[in-house]
Symmetry: C2
Subunit: 335 residues, 2 copies
């Protein structure tokens, strides 16, 4: 049951508005979620809508928050998301961030008091599309056991990067510093798949490949042993300590049954490669990609999303009939 991208955005926007979200915030969230679905990033697509609505209904996250953007220094922008979502704060701060990055060569946006429940790559890709290099980190909720520890401390704590590349789409990656993203565990549980070895532990700290055991009091492990663990620690420091946001272990949602959105912080660093010496950055990036392909790399980071995007533009976004029916029901439409 394919649906056009713009129709999916409108449908999701309608859902958010119907559940008490302001039109401005609804537009940002709907675009983000429809983009993920369009690009085949199913764990952060319409699959997430139920969690959004549950969190909104619990009173845990504000759908009406108006972010406050602060011009801190010539390269530093802060944003208080006011207990709302991170994406509207980025949306509000973005023009100032880009202007500073172009003037100073580099600028940072520190978002705090924010909920991030989406993929991270949609936050960085647009910078690369306008010729900038962007790096972002966001912490989430305690579900990852640090290397050498016995209890979870970190969130899945992704790192996302985007850079322009001449002659093609930007280079974009978004990687959880956990062995798996939380959304992938949820999907595996729903679909009855087991997890790859080394992904997680059960509630007793024992290794398990059962997604249900990970979700039921268990935890994930970092990717790549002590290295992924160090990177996850860095994400906590940059996303929470440097923004004034909560650590992944620093919030208590126990009084809000149904809450699912981590209340933390996010950091985005934007660099203007026009300041670089020598051959333009995007041409250098193209050279690197050519060498990687020549060495046998068949799929560059972000390439699968680009292919799904092109297919969706031609054929619409494939959605199961019952999924579309559920979305329409949430939007208050006749199904």
């Amino acid at each position: 049951m394919p649906i056009a991208y713009t129709d999916l955005v409108a449908l999701l926007q309608g859902i958010f508005v119907r559940h008490g979200v302001t039109p401005e915030v609804a537009s940002v969230l709907a675009t983000n979620c429809a983009t993920a679905e369009r690009d085949g990033a199913h764990s952060h697509g319409v699959f997430r809508i139920k969690g959004y609505l549950s969190s909104l209904a619990s009173g845990w996250v504000s759908g009406t928050a108006v972010p406050v953007v602060e011009d801190v220094a010539s390269g530093y922008v802060a944003a208080d998301a006011a207990g709302g979502f991170a994406q509207p704060a980025l949306h509000a701060a973005r023009p100032l961030l880009v202007a500073k990055a172009r003037a100073a060569g580099i600028a940072v946006l520190a978002i705090r008091n924010s909920h991030h429940f989406a993929a991270l790559w949609p936050d960085v890709e647009p910078f690369a599309e306008e010729g900038l290099v962007a790096l972002s980190v966001v912490n989430s909720m305690t579900c990852v056991v640090p290397h050498g520890a016995s209890k979870p401390v970190f969130g899945t704590n992704p790192v996302a990067f985007a850079a322009p590349c001449a002659g093609g789409a930007p280079i974009v990656f978004d990687l959880a510093t956990s062995a798996l993203a939380h959304g992938d565990v949820q999907i595996a549980a729903r679909e009855g798949h087991s997890l790859p070895p080394g992904s997680g532990v059960d509630r007793h700290g024992q290794p398990t490949c059962d997604p249900a055991a990970v979700l039921d009091g268990g935890a994930l492990l970092p990717f790549g042993g002590h290295k992924g663990s160090a990177l996850s620690m860095m994400v906590e420091l940059l996303s929470a300590a440097l923004t004034g946001g909560h650590f992944s272990f620093g919030f208590d949602w126990s009084q809000h049954p149904g809450a699912q959105t981590p209340w933390t912080g996010q950091l985005i660093i934007v660099i203007d490669p026009a300041k670089a010496a020598g051959v333009p950055f995007a041409e250098r990036a193209q050279t690197l990609v050519a060498h990687m392909r020549e060495a046998g790399v068949e799929r560059m980071p972000g390439e699968r999303r680009q292919r799904n995007r092109a297919r969706a533009a031609a054929e619409g976004i494939p959605l199961k009939a019952e999924v579309l029916a559920q979305l329409r029901q949430w939007a208050g439409q006749a199904v």
Copy 2:
């Protein structure tokens, strides 16, 4: 045969000067190398001196280069290392970089035309010691096969991070995006140890645990599969494309037998956490460390180096007699 830190610095400085390096550059390199040896980072300690001298003798790297520092924008410093080492370029650009970071909140130093043959953590740790957060990447020489490829493209491409932490030493890590650092492979070969599974391939692209096979036309693999590979690609883009330096595959030292120092680029991002909202950053970092310890983490990143450093301050730096004799011989001292 213990030697005091200051004596080791003086000894190494004498070696460099005797091999045609200017006193200024010799001081920077000797301090860097002695610091690594003192802190127990043996793969980047005096073990490296032979490679430094071999590279200098080959005419591949300049020991007399004077770096040129460029004030590009309010948050952007560039440095042309002029075919010399990266560390003197960082040394020369450092005051301007720190001043910009404190004024703008964030600043970047892009070093190009530079040779980096040392550990990366000594480049970032001093920033944390003065209350700043620092992140650095440097690319090296083609020896790592991208995930999904059959031939090497990337270098070992480390990422280093340093952040202040109240009540203790800074949090510092330095991780190769390869499964192992090149220096560790060299040491394993020298000492006859085998490599952990998944570290490398031989000249035919077949998995091997033999360090000699990796060094003899073989290659390393990224850590953590496609994630480490994506990070290594990011390091190439930031260290080379963004600085105007060479990619790891972008230089040809075949006309310089004995050359060992990669001729690439380095990026350093420095953030002033005094700009952060809320509780001071260093106190937040202390809270994170406390939670990690409470969860069972016994050794924080950088902690082993701190312990070695304290021991060296009390007892001197342990060096084998034949190693010390070799160093003294290179310095032209009576042995």
